[in-house]
Protein backbone atom coordinates (compact mmCIF):
# COMPACT_ATOMS: atom_id res chain seq x y z
CA UNK A 1 0.00 0.00 0.00
CA UNK A 2 1.20 3.48 -0.83
CA UNK A 3 2.28 5.63 2.07
CA UNK A 4 2.97 9.31 2.44
CA UNK A 5 6.56 10.38 2.82
CA UNK A 6 7.92 12.34 5.71
CA UNK A 7 7.70 15.71 4.04
CA UNK A 8 4.02 15.30 3.21
CA UNK A 9 3.42 14.31 6.81
CA UNK A 10 5.04 17.46 8.13
CA UNK A 11 3.19 19.67 5.67
CA UNK A 12 -0.19 18.17 6.56
CA UNK A 13 0.51 18.50 10.29
CA UNK A 14 1.65 22.09 9.85
CA UNK A 15 -1.49 22.91 7.87
CA UNK A 16 -3.70 21.38 10.56
CA UNK A 17 -1.88 23.25 13.34
CA UNK A 18 -2.08 26.48 11.33
CA UNK A 19 -5.82 26.13 10.80
CA UNK A 20 -6.34 25.37 14.50
CA UNK A 21 -4.35 28.44 15.54
CA UNK A 22 -6.16 30.69 13.05
CA UNK A 23 -9.57 29.46 14.19
CA UNK A 24 -8.61 30.00 17.83
CA UNK A 25 -7.34 33.51 17.04
CA UNK A 26 -10.53 34.34 15.21
CA UNK A 27 -12.71 33.02 18.03
CA UNK A 28 -10.63 34.82 20.62
CA UNK A 29 -10.89 38.17 18.87
CA UNK A 30 -14.70 37.79 18.76
CA UNK A 31 -14.90 36.50 22.28
CA UNK A 32 -18.41 37.76 22.92
CA UNK A 33 -19.89 35.63 20.13
CA UNK A 34 -17.83 32.52 20.71
CA UNK A 35 -17.56 32.40 24.49
CA UNK A 36 -19.46 29.10 24.73
CA UNK A 37 -17.40 27.05 22.24
CA UNK A 38 -14.24 28.67 23.60
CA UNK A 39 -15.13 27.56 27.12
CA UNK A 40 -15.67 23.98 25.89
CA UNK A 41 -12.38 24.00 24.01
CA UNK A 42 -10.53 25.40 27.01
CA UNK A 43 -11.88 22.75 29.33
CA UNK A 44 -10.97 20.11 26.76
CA UNK A 45 -7.41 21.41 26.54
CA UNK A 46 -7.04 21.36 30.33
CA UNK A 47 -8.45 17.82 30.53
CA UNK A 48 -6.11 16.80 27.71
CA UNK A 49 -3.10 17.67 29.90
CA UNK A 50 -4.32 15.50 32.80
CA UNK A 51 -5.31 12.74 30.40
CA UNK A 52 -1.86 12.66 28.81
CA UNK A 53 -0.27 12.77 32.29
CA UNK A 54 -2.44 9.83 33.33
CA UNK A 55 -1.57 8.05 30.10
CA UNK A 56 2.11 8.52 30.87
CA UNK A 57 1.52 6.44 33.98
CA UNK A 58 -1.13 3.97 32.84
CA UNK A 59 -0.35 3.62 29.19
CA UNK A 60 3.42 3.99 29.11
CA UNK A 61 4.67 2.81 32.50
CA UNK A 62 1.88 0.34 33.25
CA UNK A 63 1.01 1.90 36.61
CA UNK A 64 -2.72 2.15 37.16
CA UNK A 65 -3.16 5.19 39.40
CA UNK A 66 -6.44 6.83 40.37
CA UNK A 67 -5.04 9.77 42.32
CA UNK A 68 -5.52 12.46 39.65
CA UNK A 69 -8.20 14.49 41.43
CA UNK A 70 -6.10 14.84 44.58
CA UNK A 71 -3.03 16.09 42.73
CA UNK A 72 -5.18 18.45 40.66
CA UNK A 73 -6.56 19.83 43.91
CA UNK A 74 -3.05 20.59 45.18
CA UNK A 75 -2.22 22.49 41.99
CA UNK A 76 -5.58 24.26 41.91
CA UNK A 77 -5.41 25.48 45.51
CA UNK A 78 -1.80 26.61 45.16
CA UNK A 79 -2.64 28.66 42.08
CA UNK A 80 -5.84 30.02 43.60
CA UNK A 81 -4.22 31.12 46.87
CA UNK A 82 -1.34 32.81 45.08
CA UNK A 83 -3.31 34.58 42.35
CA UNK A 84 -6.40 35.95 44.12
CA UNK A 85 -5.74 39.71 44.25
CA UNK A 86 -4.53 40.74 47.71
CA UNK A 87 -7.20 43.41 48.13
CA UNK A 88 -9.99 40.88 47.48
CA UNK A 89 -8.72 38.34 49.99
CA UNK A 90 -10.62 39.65 53.06
CA UNK A 91 -13.85 39.19 51.07
CA UNK A 92 -12.94 35.65 50.07
CA UNK A 93 -11.91 34.58 53.57
CA UNK A 94 -14.73 36.53 55.19
CA UNK A 95 -15.62 33.87 57.74
CA UNK A 96 -12.38 32.57 59.17
CA UNK A 97 -9.85 35.14 58.06
CA UNK A 98 -6.65 34.27 56.24
CA UNK A 99 -3.44 32.94 57.74
CA UNK A 100 -0.95 35.78 58.16
CA UNK A 101 1.90 34.76 55.81
CA UNK A 102 -0.56 34.08 52.99
CA UNK A 103 -2.38 37.39 53.23
CA UNK A 104 0.31 39.18 51.21
CA UNK A 105 1.81 36.28 49.24
CA UNK A 106 1.10 36.49 45.57
CA UNK A 107 2.76 35.33 42.38
CA UNK A 108 2.26 35.81 38.67
CA UNK A 109 0.19 33.13 36.97
CA UNK A 110 3.07 31.24 35.38
CA UNK A 111 5.02 31.04 38.64
CA UNK A 112 1.91 29.93 40.51
CA UNK A 113 1.27 27.20 37.94
CA UNK A 114 4.84 25.91 38.16
CA UNK A 115 4.74 26.03 41.96
CA UNK A 116 1.42 24.17 41.97
CA UNK A 117 2.98 21.52 39.72
CA UNK A 118 6.04 21.27 41.95
CA UNK A 119 3.96 20.89 45.11
CA UNK A 120 1.87 18.16 43.48
CA UNK A 121 5.08 16.48 42.29
CA UNK A 122 6.56 16.64 45.80
CA UNK A 123 3.39 15.10 47.22
CA UNK A 124 3.61 12.40 44.56
CA UNK A 125 7.22 11.81 45.52
CA UNK A 126 6.25 11.24 49.17
CA UNK A 127 3.21 9.10 48.39
CA UNK A 128 5.23 7.16 45.83
CA UNK A 129 7.48 5.63 48.47
CA UNK A 130 4.85 3.39 50.06
CA UNK A 131 2.47 3.18 47.12
CA UNK A 132 4.72 2.26 44.20
CA UNK A 133 5.65 -1.01 45.83
CA UNK A 134 2.12 -2.16 45.07
CA UNK A 135 1.01 -3.58 41.76
CA UNK A 136 -1.98 -3.20 39.42
CA UNK A 137 -5.34 -2.85 41.22
CA UNK A 138 -3.79 -2.41 44.64
CA UNK A 139 -1.89 0.62 43.39
CA UNK A 140 -5.15 2.06 42.07
CA UNK A 141 -6.88 1.54 45.42
CA UNK A 142 -4.02 3.10 47.38
CA UNK A 143 -3.73 6.18 45.14
CA UNK A 144 -7.51 6.59 45.21
CA UNK A 145 -7.32 6.61 49.01
CA UNK A 146 -4.55 9.19 49.06
CA UNK A 147 -6.46 11.38 46.65
CA UNK A 148 -9.46 11.38 48.98
CA UNK A 149 -7.20 12.11 51.96
CA UNK A 150 -5.81 15.18 50.17
CA UNK A 151 -9.32 16.36 49.45
CA UNK A 152 -10.46 15.77 53.03
CA UNK A 153 -7.43 17.69 54.29
CA UNK A 154 -8.26 20.65 52.10
CA UNK A 155 -11.80 20.75 53.45
CA UNK A 156 -10.69 20.17 57.05
CA UNK A 157 -11.47 22.92 59.61
CA UNK A 158 -7.86 23.10 60.68
CA UNK A 159 -6.88 24.42 57.26
CA UNK A 160 -9.74 26.92 57.20
CA UNK A 161 -7.38 29.86 57.27
CA UNK A 162 -5.41 28.50 54.30
CA UNK A 163 -7.92 26.84 52.01
CA UNK A 164 -11.07 28.51 53.34
CA UNK A 165 -12.34 25.02 54.22
CA UNK A 166 -15.63 24.02 52.72
CA UNK A 167 -16.43 27.55 51.50
CA UNK A 168 -13.99 27.23 48.65
CA UNK A 169 -12.07 29.99 46.93
CA UNK A 170 -13.51 32.49 44.50
CA UNK A 171 -12.44 35.69 42.71
CA UNK A 172 -9.60 33.88 40.96
CA UNK A 173 -8.63 36.08 38.01
CA UNK A 174 -9.22 34.21 34.78
CA UNK A 175 -6.84 33.87 31.83
CA UNK A 176 -6.11 37.31 30.39
CA UNK A 177 -6.47 35.72 26.97
CA UNK A 178 -8.01 32.33 26.24
CA UNK A 179 -5.06 31.60 23.98
CA UNK A 180 -2.80 31.33 27.05
CA UNK A 181 -4.60 28.23 28.25
CA UNK A 182 -4.17 26.53 24.88
CA UNK A 183 -0.53 27.51 24.75
CA UNK A 184 0.20 26.17 28.26
CA UNK A 185 -1.67 22.94 27.52
CA UNK A 186 0.23 22.43 24.27
CA UNK A 187 3.54 23.14 26.01
CA UNK A 188 2.80 20.63 28.81
CA UNK A 189 1.82 17.92 26.34
CA UNK A 190 4.89 18.64 24.22
CA UNK A 191 7.15 18.27 27.27
CA UNK A 192 5.56 14.93 28.15
CA UNK A 193 6.01 13.73 24.58
CA UNK A 194 9.70 14.63 24.84
CA UNK A 195 10.02 12.57 28.02
CA UNK A 196 8.27 9.59 26.45
CA UNK A 197 10.50 9.72 23.39
CA UNK A 198 13.71 9.86 25.42
CA UNK A 199 15.71 6.91 26.67
CA UNK A 200 13.85 7.16 29.99
CA UNK A 201 10.56 6.88 28.14
CA UNK A 202 11.78 3.66 26.56
CA UNK A 203 12.66 2.36 30.01
CA UNK A 204 9.09 3.21 31.14
CA UNK A 205 7.73 1.20 28.22
CA UNK A 206 9.99 -1.72 29.14
CA UNK A 207 8.52 -1.70 32.65
CA UNK A 208 5.02 -1.71 31.17
CA UNK A 209 5.84 -4.64 28.92
CA UNK A 210 7.55 -6.90 31.44
CA UNK A 211 8.82 -5.88 34.86
CA UNK A 212 10.99 -8.95 35.37
CA UNK A 213 12.70 -8.57 32.01
CA UNK A 214 13.11 -4.81 32.48
CA UNK A 215 14.80 -5.37 35.81
CA UNK A 216 17.14 -7.96 34.33
CA UNK A 217 18.07 -5.38 31.67
CA UNK A 218 19.51 -3.23 34.45
CA UNK A 219 16.53 -0.89 34.84
CA UNK A 220 15.99 0.10 38.46
CA UNK A 221 12.25 -0.51 38.78
CA UNK A 222 11.50 1.67 41.77
CA UNK A 223 13.55 4.62 40.57
CA UNK A 224 11.91 4.67 37.15
CA UNK A 225 8.40 4.15 38.50
CA UNK A 226 8.98 6.99 40.95
CA UNK A 227 10.23 9.16 38.09
CA UNK A 228 7.14 8.50 35.96
CA UNK A 229 4.87 9.07 38.94
CA UNK A 230 6.46 12.40 39.87
CA UNK A 231 6.41 13.67 36.28
CA UNK A 232 2.77 12.69 35.94
CA UNK A 233 1.91 14.40 39.24
CA UNK A 234 3.72 17.55 38.16
CA UNK A 235 1.64 17.97 35.01
CA UNK A 236 -1.52 16.90 36.81
CA UNK A 237 -0.86 19.69 39.32
CA UNK A 238 -0.37 22.22 36.52
CA UNK A 239 -3.61 21.22 34.83
CA UNK A 240 -5.37 21.48 38.21
CA UNK A 241 -4.05 25.03 38.47
CA UNK A 242 -5.32 25.78 34.97
CA UNK A 243 -8.71 24.38 35.89
CA UNK A 244 -8.84 26.74 38.89
CA UNK A 245 -8.03 29.73 36.69
CA UNK A 246 -10.54 28.59 34.09
CA UNK A 247 -13.38 28.00 36.57
CA UNK A 248 -12.50 31.09 38.63
CA UNK A 249 -13.91 29.55 41.77
CA UNK A 250 -13.11 26.19 43.31
CA UNK A 251 -13.99 24.20 46.36
CA UNK A 252 -13.03 20.77 47.57
CA UNK A 253 -16.09 19.19 45.93
CA UNK A 254 -14.66 20.06 42.51
CA UNK A 255 -11.99 17.43 43.07
CA UNK A 256 -14.12 14.47 44.01
CA UNK A 257 -13.43 11.01 42.68
CA UNK A 258 -15.78 11.71 39.77
CA UNK A 259 -13.16 13.97 38.26
CA UNK A 260 -10.63 11.12 38.24
CA UNK A 261 -13.18 8.86 36.57
CA UNK A 262 -13.80 11.50 33.90
CA UNK A 263 -10.08 11.52 33.14
CA UNK A 264 -9.92 7.72 33.19
CA UNK A 265 -12.83 7.66 30.75
CA UNK A 266 -10.96 10.01 28.42
CA UNK A 267 -7.84 7.86 28.54
CA UNK A 268 -9.75 4.64 27.90
CA UNK A 269 -11.86 6.22 25.17
CA UNK A 270 -8.84 7.64 23.37
CA UNK A 271 -6.74 4.53 23.78
CA UNK A 272 -4.40 3.51 26.57
CA UNK A 273 -0.87 4.22 25.40
CA UNK A 274 -1.78 6.80 22.76
CA UNK A 275 -1.07 10.50 23.37
CA UNK A 276 -3.04 11.74 20.41
CA UNK A 277 -5.81 9.40 21.53
CA UNK A 278 -5.97 11.10 24.92
CA UNK A 279 -6.11 14.53 23.31
CA UNK A 280 -8.84 13.44 20.90
CA UNK A 281 -10.67 11.72 23.75
CA UNK A 282 -10.71 14.79 25.94
CA UNK A 283 -12.15 16.97 23.17
CA UNK A 284 -14.78 14.38 22.25
CA UNK A 285 -15.75 13.78 25.88
CA UNK A 286 -16.06 17.42 26.88
CA UNK A 287 -17.68 18.54 23.67
CA UNK A 288 -19.91 15.46 23.47
CA UNK A 289 -21.53 16.23 26.78
CA UNK A 290 -22.39 19.71 25.58
CA UNK A 291 -23.59 18.74 22.11
CA UNK A 292 -26.07 16.38 23.65
CA UNK A 293 -27.70 19.14 25.68
CA UNK A 294 -30.78 19.23 23.44
CA UNK A 295 -31.77 15.90 24.97
CA UNK A 296 -32.25 17.77 28.24
CA UNK A 297 -34.86 20.12 26.77
CA UNK A 298 -38.47 19.02 26.48
CA UNK A 299 -39.29 17.98 22.93
CA UNK A 300 -42.74 18.63 21.51
CA UNK A 301 -43.64 17.10 18.15
CA UNK A 302 -47.03 18.18 16.83
CA UNK A 303 -48.43 18.93 20.25
CA UNK A 304 -47.21 15.59 21.59
CA UNK A 305 -44.70 15.91 24.43
CA UNK A 306 -42.12 13.18 23.82
CA UNK A 307 -41.39 11.42 27.12
CA UNK A 308 -37.81 10.93 28.41
CA UNK A 309 -36.67 14.28 27.03
CA UNK A 310 -35.98 16.01 30.30
CA UNK A 311 -33.08 17.19 32.38
CA UNK A 312 -30.44 14.46 32.77
CA UNK A 313 -31.48 12.44 29.71
CA UNK A 314 -28.33 13.46 27.81
CA UNK A 315 -26.20 11.51 30.28
CA UNK A 316 -28.18 8.36 29.41
CA UNK A 317 -27.50 8.93 25.73
CA UNK A 318 -23.88 9.77 26.49
CA UNK A 319 -23.43 6.51 28.40
CA UNK A 320 -25.02 4.55 25.56
CA UNK A 321 -22.61 6.14 23.07
CA UNK A 322 -19.67 5.33 25.33
CA UNK A 323 -20.78 1.72 25.64
CA UNK A 324 -21.08 1.44 21.87
CA UNK A 325 -17.59 2.84 21.42
CA UNK A 326 -16.12 0.45 23.98
CA UNK A 327 -17.90 -2.50 22.36
CA UNK A 328 -16.63 -1.75 18.86
CA UNK A 329 -13.24 -0.28 19.74
CA UNK A 330 -12.04 -2.50 22.54
CA UNK A 331 -8.72 -0.70 22.83
CA UNK A 332 -10.18 2.79 22.57
CA UNK A 333 -10.45 4.89 19.45
CA UNK A 334 -6.75 4.79 18.62
CA UNK A 335 -5.61 1.73 20.58
CA UNK A 336 -1.95 2.10 21.45
CA UNK A 337 -1.11 3.70 18.10
CA UNK A 338 -0.69 7.37 17.47
CA UNK A 339 -2.69 9.46 15.05
CA UNK A 340 -0.92 9.61 11.71
CA UNK A 341 -1.73 10.89 8.28
CA UNK A 342 -0.68 7.53 6.91
CA UNK A 343 -3.38 5.90 9.00
CA UNK A 344 -6.01 8.23 7.56
CA UNK A 345 -4.63 7.76 4.06
CA UNK A 346 -4.77 3.98 4.40
CA UNK A 347 -8.30 4.22 5.78
CA UNK A 348 -9.42 6.32 2.80
CA UNK A 349 -7.81 3.90 0.38
CA UNK A 350 -9.55 0.95 2.00
CA UNK A 351 -12.83 2.85 1.84
CA UNK A 352 -12.49 3.66 -1.85
CA UNK A 353 -11.51 0.06 -2.64
CA UNK A 354 -14.55 -1.22 -0.82
CA UNK A 355 -16.78 1.19 -2.73
CA UNK A 356 -15.27 0.08 -6.02
CA UNK A 357 -15.80 -3.56 -5.13
CA UNK A 358 -19.43 -2.89 -4.30
CA UNK A 359 -19.91 -1.15 -7.62
CA UNK A 360 -18.29 -4.05 -9.46
CA UNK A 361 -20.40 -6.61 -7.66
CA UNK A 362 -23.53 -4.61 -8.46
CA UNK A 363 -22.61 -4.47 -12.13
CA UNK A 364 -21.93 -8.20 -12.13
CA UNK A 365 -25.36 -8.63 -10.56
CA UNK A 366 -26.94 -6.69 -13.45
CA UNK A 367 -25.37 -8.98 -16.03
CA UNK A 368 -27.05 -11.96 -14.46
Amino acid sequence: MKTLDRKANYILSAILAGIAILVLFYMDSNRATYSYPLAILQRSAIYAVVAVAMNLLTGFTGLFSLGQAGFMAIGAYTVAILTIPVELRPDVYYINGIAEPLAQASAPLWAALVLGGLLAAFMGFLIGYPVLRLKSDYLAIATLGFSEIIRAFIAAPLLDRVTNGSYGLKSIPGFSSTLISFFVAALCIFLMVLVIRSSYGRAFKAIREDEVAAESMGINLFKHKQMAFVISCFFTGISGGMLAVFMRSIDSKTFQIGLTYDILLIVVLGGIGSITGSILGSFLMTAGREWLRFFDDPLVIGGFNVPLFRSGFRMVIFSLILMTVVLYYRKGLLGNREFSWNGIYAFLQRLSQRLKRQKVSKEVGKDD
Binding site: L191, L194, V195, S198, S199, Y200, R202, A203, K205, A206, E209, D210, V212, A213, A214, E215, S216, M217, G218, I219, N220, L221, M227, I231, N336
Partner: protein, 281 residues
Amino acid sequence: MTETVLKLNDITMQFGGVVAVNGFSMEVNRGEIVAIIGPNGAGKTTAFNVITGVYAPTNGSVELHGETIISNYPQGKMRKLYAGENNGVYEQLIRKTPDKITKLGIARTFQNIRLFKNLTVFENVLIAKHMNIQSNLLSAAFMLNRKEEQKMRRETDELLNILDLSDVRNEISSSLPYGKQRRLEIARALATEPSLLLLDEPAAGMNPQETNELTRFIHRLKDDFHLTVLMIEHHMNLVMEISDRIYVLDFGKLIASGTPEDVQNDQRVIDAYLGVTEDEQ
Protein backbone atom coordinates in the same frame (compact mmCIF):
# COMPACT_ATOMS: atom_id res chain seq x y z
CA MET B 1 45.95 -20.15 35.25
CA THR B 2 42.18 -20.39 35.45
CA GLU B 3 40.27 -17.47 36.84
CA THR B 4 37.01 -18.12 38.64
CA VAL B 5 34.22 -15.89 37.37
CA LEU B 6 31.27 -17.17 39.35
CA LYS B 7 31.29 -19.17 42.55
CA LEU B 8 28.26 -20.48 44.42
CA ASN B 9 28.81 -21.50 48.04
CA ASP B 10 26.27 -23.85 49.65
CA ILE B 11 23.29 -22.12 48.09
CA THR B 12 20.07 -23.24 49.72
CA MET B 13 16.69 -21.93 48.64
CA GLN B 14 13.74 -22.90 50.74
CA PHE B 15 10.14 -21.89 49.98
CA GLY B 16 8.11 -22.50 53.14
CA GLY B 17 8.79 -26.18 53.85
CA VAL B 18 10.07 -27.02 50.35
CA VAL B 19 13.81 -27.05 49.81
CA ALA B 20 14.15 -26.25 46.10
CA VAL B 21 17.95 -26.07 46.09
CA ASN B 22 19.97 -27.64 48.86
CA GLY B 23 23.60 -26.77 49.60
CA PHE B 24 24.53 -26.26 45.94
CA SER B 25 28.12 -25.21 45.29
CA MET B 26 29.67 -24.67 41.89
CA GLU B 27 32.33 -22.73 40.03
CA VAL B 28 32.48 -21.26 36.58
CA ASN B 29 35.88 -20.32 35.17
CA ARG B 30 36.65 -17.65 32.62
CA GLY B 31 35.94 -18.72 29.04
CA GLU B 32 34.16 -21.90 29.98
CA ILE B 33 30.77 -23.14 28.89
CA VAL B 34 29.20 -24.81 31.89
CA ALA B 35 25.83 -26.54 31.91
CA ILE B 36 23.44 -27.33 34.72
CA ILE B 37 21.22 -30.29 33.92
CA GLY B 38 18.67 -32.26 35.85
CA PRO B 39 15.12 -33.58 35.65
CA ASN B 40 12.12 -31.25 35.89
CA GLY B 41 11.80 -29.56 39.26
CA ALA B 42 15.43 -30.20 40.16
CA GLY B 43 15.98 -26.54 41.04
CA LYS B 44 17.95 -25.37 38.01
CA THR B 45 15.94 -22.25 37.26
CA THR B 46 15.74 -21.49 40.98
CA ALA B 47 19.54 -21.50 41.06
CA PHE B 48 19.51 -19.04 38.13
CA ASN B 49 17.05 -16.81 39.93
CA VAL B 50 19.29 -16.78 42.99
CA ILE B 51 22.35 -15.82 40.92
CA THR B 52 20.49 -12.98 39.18
CA GLY B 53 18.98 -11.63 42.39
CA VAL B 54 15.34 -12.46 41.67
CA TYR B 55 15.29 -14.59 44.83
CA ALA B 56 17.41 -14.01 47.91
CA PRO B 57 18.81 -17.41 48.89
CA THR B 58 17.84 -18.79 52.31
CA ASN B 59 21.45 -19.65 53.07
CA GLY B 60 24.76 -19.40 51.25
CA SER B 61 26.66 -16.90 49.15
CA VAL B 62 27.48 -16.03 45.55
CA GLU B 63 30.82 -14.59 44.45
CA LEU B 64 31.50 -12.79 41.18
CA HIS B 65 35.17 -12.29 40.25
CA GLY B 66 36.07 -13.09 43.85
CA GLU B 67 33.77 -10.49 45.33
CA THR B 68 30.76 -11.59 47.36
CA ILE B 69 27.66 -10.16 45.68
CA ILE B 70 24.97 -12.15 47.48
CA SER B 71 25.03 -13.65 50.93
CA ASN B 72 22.30 -14.67 53.33
CA TYR B 73 21.53 -16.87 56.32
CA PRO B 74 18.21 -18.15 57.69
CA GLN B 75 16.35 -15.30 59.35
CA GLY B 76 12.97 -14.63 60.88
CA LYS B 77 10.53 -17.44 60.25
CA MET B 78 13.20 -19.40 58.43
CA ARG B 79 15.33 -19.71 61.55
CA LYS B 80 12.95 -22.37 62.86
CA LEU B 81 11.81 -23.77 59.54
CA TYR B 82 15.24 -24.12 57.95
CA ALA B 83 15.75 -27.66 56.70
CA GLY B 84 18.96 -27.22 54.70
CA GLU B 85 22.60 -27.70 55.58
CA ASN B 86 25.46 -25.44 56.67
CA ASN B 87 23.34 -23.46 59.08
CA GLY B 88 25.45 -20.87 60.84
CA VAL B 89 28.31 -20.86 58.34
CA TYR B 90 27.24 -17.61 56.68
CA GLU B 91 26.83 -14.50 58.78
CA GLN B 92 26.85 -11.73 56.22
CA LEU B 93 23.71 -10.29 54.71
CA ILE B 94 24.24 -8.96 51.20
CA ARG B 95 21.33 -8.49 48.86
CA LYS B 96 21.30 -6.96 45.44
CA THR B 97 18.36 -6.28 43.17
CA PRO B 98 18.45 -7.83 39.68
CA ASP B 99 19.27 -4.51 38.00
CA LYS B 100 22.39 -4.07 40.15
CA ILE B 101 23.53 -7.59 39.35
CA THR B 102 23.03 -6.94 35.64
CA LYS B 103 25.22 -3.87 36.01
CA LEU B 104 27.93 -6.06 37.56
CA GLY B 105 28.08 -8.04 34.34
CA ILE B 106 25.66 -10.95 34.58
CA ALA B 107 23.05 -11.09 31.83
CA ARG B 108 20.37 -13.71 31.40
CA THR B 109 17.69 -15.05 29.13
CA PHE B 110 14.46 -16.63 30.31
CA GLN B 111 13.02 -20.11 30.01
CA ASN B 112 9.71 -18.79 28.70
CA ILE B 113 10.76 -15.94 26.41
CA ARG B 114 10.24 -12.57 28.03
CA LEU B 115 10.64 -10.02 25.28
CA PHE B 116 9.06 -6.57 25.32
CA LYS B 117 6.31 -7.89 23.10
CA ASN B 118 4.75 -4.70 21.71
CA LEU B 119 8.06 -3.02 20.92
CA THR B 120 10.22 -3.45 17.85
CA VAL B 121 13.33 -5.59 17.67
CA PHE B 122 15.46 -2.45 17.62
CA GLU B 123 13.74 -0.97 20.69
CA ASN B 124 14.08 -4.24 22.58
CA VAL B 125 17.86 -4.11 22.27
CA LEU B 126 18.06 -0.33 22.65
CA ILE B 127 16.32 -0.49 26.05
CA ALA B 128 19.12 -2.66 27.38
CA LYS B 129 21.50 0.20 26.54
CA HIS B 130 19.60 2.49 28.90
CA MET B 131 21.41 0.84 31.81
CA ASN B 132 24.59 2.87 31.33
CA ILE B 133 22.94 6.20 30.57
CA GLN B 134 24.94 9.16 31.89
CA SER B 135 22.58 12.02 31.16
CA ASN B 136 19.74 12.82 33.51
CA LEU B 137 16.06 12.96 32.70
CA LEU B 138 16.02 16.62 31.68
CA SER B 139 18.93 16.52 29.28
CA ALA B 140 17.62 13.26 27.81
CA ALA B 141 14.14 14.75 27.33
CA PHE B 142 15.46 17.93 25.71
CA MET B 143 17.72 15.86 23.44
CA LEU B 144 20.88 17.44 24.80
CA ASN B 145 22.52 14.01 24.95
CA ARG B 146 22.55 13.54 21.19
CA LYS B 147 26.02 12.01 21.24
CA GLU B 148 25.08 9.46 23.85
CA GLU B 149 21.79 8.66 22.16
CA GLN B 150 23.54 8.19 18.82
CA LYS B 151 26.13 5.95 20.43
CA MET B 152 23.38 3.80 21.95
CA ARG B 153 21.64 3.53 18.60
CA ARG B 154 24.85 2.75 16.74
CA GLU B 155 25.85 0.04 19.17
CA THR B 156 22.38 -1.47 18.95
CA ASP B 157 22.58 -1.59 15.17
CA GLU B 158 26.05 -3.16 15.33
CA LEU B 159 24.77 -5.84 17.67
CA LEU B 160 21.78 -6.57 15.45
CA ASN B 161 24.18 -6.87 12.51
CA ILE B 162 26.42 -9.35 14.30
CA LEU B 163 23.45 -11.48 15.34
CA ASP B 164 21.84 -11.37 11.86
CA LEU B 165 18.75 -9.57 13.09
CA SER B 166 19.15 -6.44 10.96
CA ASP B 167 16.57 -7.61 8.43
CA VAL B 168 13.84 -7.70 11.08
CA ARG B 169 15.00 -4.52 12.80
CA ASN B 170 11.64 -2.74 12.67
CA GLU B 171 9.36 -5.72 13.21
CA ILE B 172 7.32 -6.02 16.39
CA SER B 173 9.21 -8.56 18.47
CA SER B 174 6.26 -10.85 19.16
CA SER B 175 5.71 -11.29 15.42
CA LEU B 176 9.11 -12.96 14.94
CA PRO B 177 9.43 -16.72 14.46
CA TYR B 178 10.33 -18.61 17.59
CA GLY B 179 14.00 -19.15 16.83
CA LYS B 180 14.54 -15.47 16.11
CA GLN B 181 12.77 -14.50 19.32
CA ARG B 182 15.27 -16.64 21.20
CA ARG B 183 18.13 -14.99 19.34
CA LEU B 184 16.70 -11.54 20.05
CA GLU B 185 16.54 -12.37 23.72
CA ILE B 186 20.24 -13.26 23.61
CA ALA B 187 20.98 -10.05 21.69
CA ARG B 188 19.17 -8.06 24.34
CA ALA B 189 21.17 -9.76 27.07
CA LEU B 190 24.43 -9.07 25.20
CA ALA B 191 23.53 -5.38 24.91
CA THR B 192 24.14 -5.05 28.65
CA GLU B 193 27.79 -5.96 27.92
CA PRO B 194 28.02 -8.90 30.31
CA SER B 195 31.06 -10.96 31.20
CA LEU B 196 28.87 -13.89 32.19
CA LEU B 197 25.87 -14.98 30.18
CA LEU B 198 23.19 -17.18 31.72
CA LEU B 199 21.03 -19.06 29.21
CA ASP B 200 17.89 -20.72 30.54
CA GLU B 201 17.01 -23.56 28.13
CA PRO B 202 18.09 -21.80 24.94
CA ALA B 203 17.15 -24.80 22.78
CA ALA B 204 13.67 -25.37 24.22
CA GLY B 205 11.19 -25.98 21.42
CA MET B 206 13.82 -26.09 18.67
CA ASN B 207 14.12 -28.83 16.03
CA PRO B 208 17.42 -30.72 15.57
CA GLN B 209 18.60 -28.44 12.77
CA GLU B 210 17.93 -25.30 14.79
CA THR B 211 19.67 -26.90 17.75
CA ASN B 212 22.77 -27.52 15.63
CA GLU B 213 22.75 -23.91 14.54
CA LEU B 214 22.41 -22.85 18.16
CA THR B 215 25.48 -24.87 19.12
CA ARG B 216 27.58 -23.03 16.56
CA PHE B 217 25.94 -19.73 17.52
CA ILE B 218 26.82 -20.07 21.20
CA HIS B 219 30.41 -20.99 20.35
CA ARG B 220 30.67 -17.97 18.09
CA LEU B 221 29.23 -15.65 20.74
CA LYS B 222 31.61 -16.94 23.34
CA ASP B 223 34.59 -16.13 21.15
CA ASP B 224 33.34 -12.83 19.73
CA PHE B 225 32.23 -11.33 23.01
CA HIS B 226 34.81 -12.99 25.31
CA LEU B 227 32.00 -14.51 27.31
CA THR B 228 31.70 -17.10 29.96
CA VAL B 229 28.50 -19.08 29.56
CA LEU B 230 26.39 -20.86 32.13
CA MET B 231 23.37 -22.64 30.75
CA ILE B 232 20.47 -24.83 31.70
CA GLU B 233 19.53 -27.28 28.99
CA HIS B 234 17.53 -30.44 28.40
CA HIS B 235 18.84 -31.28 24.92
CA MET B 236 21.46 -33.89 25.74
CA ASN B 237 23.11 -33.69 22.32
CA LEU B 238 23.63 -29.98 22.71
CA VAL B 239 24.83 -30.22 26.30
CA MET B 240 27.31 -33.02 25.65
CA GLU B 241 28.70 -31.32 22.56
CA ILE B 242 29.07 -27.83 23.86
CA SER B 243 29.87 -27.91 27.58
CA ASP B 244 33.29 -27.97 29.14
CA ARG B 245 31.84 -29.09 32.44
CA ILE B 246 28.43 -30.20 33.66
CA TYR B 247 26.70 -30.03 37.03
CA VAL B 248 23.79 -32.41 37.62
CA LEU B 249 21.03 -31.47 40.06
CA ASP B 250 18.30 -33.80 41.30
CA PHE B 251 15.72 -32.71 43.88
CA GLY B 252 17.85 -29.67 44.66
CA LYS B 253 20.98 -31.68 45.46
CA LEU B 254 24.14 -31.81 43.37
CA ILE B 255 24.55 -35.48 42.42
CA ALA B 256 27.43 -35.33 39.99
CA SER B 257 29.77 -32.91 38.24
CA GLY B 258 32.63 -33.03 35.78
CA THR B 259 33.32 -33.35 32.06
CA PRO B 260 30.55 -34.63 29.77
CA GLU B 261 32.21 -38.11 29.69
CA ASP B 262 32.39 -38.33 33.49
CA VAL B 263 28.77 -37.33 33.85
CA GLN B 264 27.57 -39.69 31.13
CA ASN B 265 29.20 -42.64 32.88
CA ASP B 266 28.01 -41.75 36.36
CA GLN B 267 25.51 -44.34 37.53
CA ARG B 268 23.54 -41.90 39.68
CA VAL B 269 23.06 -39.56 36.77
CA ILE B 270 21.91 -42.39 34.54
CA ASP B 271 19.44 -43.43 37.22
CA ALA B 272 18.13 -39.95 37.77
CA TYR B 273 18.04 -38.59 34.31
CA LEU B 274 19.83 -40.02 31.34
CA GLY B 275 17.88 -43.26 31.42
CA VAL B 276 15.04 -41.35 29.88
CA THR B 277 16.98 -40.42 26.78
CA GLU B 278 18.09 -44.05 26.27
CA ASP B 279 14.45 -45.11 26.13
CA GLU B 280 13.82 -42.54 23.46
CA GLN B 281 16.61 -43.91 21.29
